[in-house]
Assembly symmetry: C2
Homo-oligomer: 149 residues x 2
């Protein structure tokens, strides 16, 4: 058990794993963002649109839980989507504190046009992994997530 100093810290056995996690996410998200850009969507915006797709609308709270976005941030994202006419806010009647966010017709049209195309775009890369590799990666990432949750 040697002490951790500034000089030897970088040699901790988990450092390569941490680096790979960060760099692989950066590489993925850059590719993801690039594919969404032509549709005028940022990654967090697309996350919301894709979450709302094929639903009757979801409350802010639920969207926040699904996308790991805090409520203040989500208000801004939804504001921008609403300004573009892609979603609308609907007050719930049974509990008037709640607001459901729904895709508009225009938003649904975008969802149906963009989502499958974007999935194909991502699939091009993910398909370079074999089934076994994919399952292995999925399992490893799940463990990694558990560590930090």
């Amino acid at each position: 058990m040697t002490e951790i100093t500034a000089d030897n810290a970088a040699r901790q056995p988990f450092m390569p794993l941490m680096r790979e996690l960060v760099r692989s996410y950066q590489a993925f998200t850059a590719y993801d963002a690039k594919g969404l850009k032509p549709f005028g969507l940022t990654v967090p915006q697309a996350d919301v649109i894709f979450t709302l797709g094929n639903t009757e609308g979801i409350t802010f709270k639920e969207i926040g839980e699904l996308t790991l976005t805090t409520k203040g941030t989500l208000t801004g994202i939804v504001d921008r989507l609403e300004a573009r006419g892609l979603v609308r806010r609907v007050q719930e009647n049974d509990d008037r504190r709640r607001t459901r966010v729904c895709l508009t017709a225009k938003g649904d049209k975008l969802f149906r046009g963009v989502f499958p195309r974007h999935i194909r775009y991502l699939k091009q890369r993910f398909d370079r992994l074999g089934r076994k590799e994919r399952e292995q990666a999925e399992q490893s990432l799940r463990k990694l997530r558990d560590i930090f949750d």
Copy 2:
């Protein structure tokens, strides 16, 4: 080979892997940012400070390559670190287009104080993985990165 539509897209076999990649990174980076906050460092700022540690200074170009940050963004990050007296810019003599960024004495002190502590903080969590799991995760993430590079 069925067509990908908005309705079945979410059932593509790579979707769980993608979700795990994003969520595990989000969980990690939230923990990471929380540990850096008391030192007044953001994640990208710490990335730069840690990259500069134990070096004689590195050029913008190299830092950008190591941290995957574009030059315009890096200028801003370095500006903020310089304003706090943690780094300084040094013009290179052999090629005067290049600027090396170095830790100041204050920056080095911060590096030596924060880096080992932060590594221990991260290690607490990463050590919950066994050696085998860690190596497996590292290997999977490397493959994942290759796909998007």
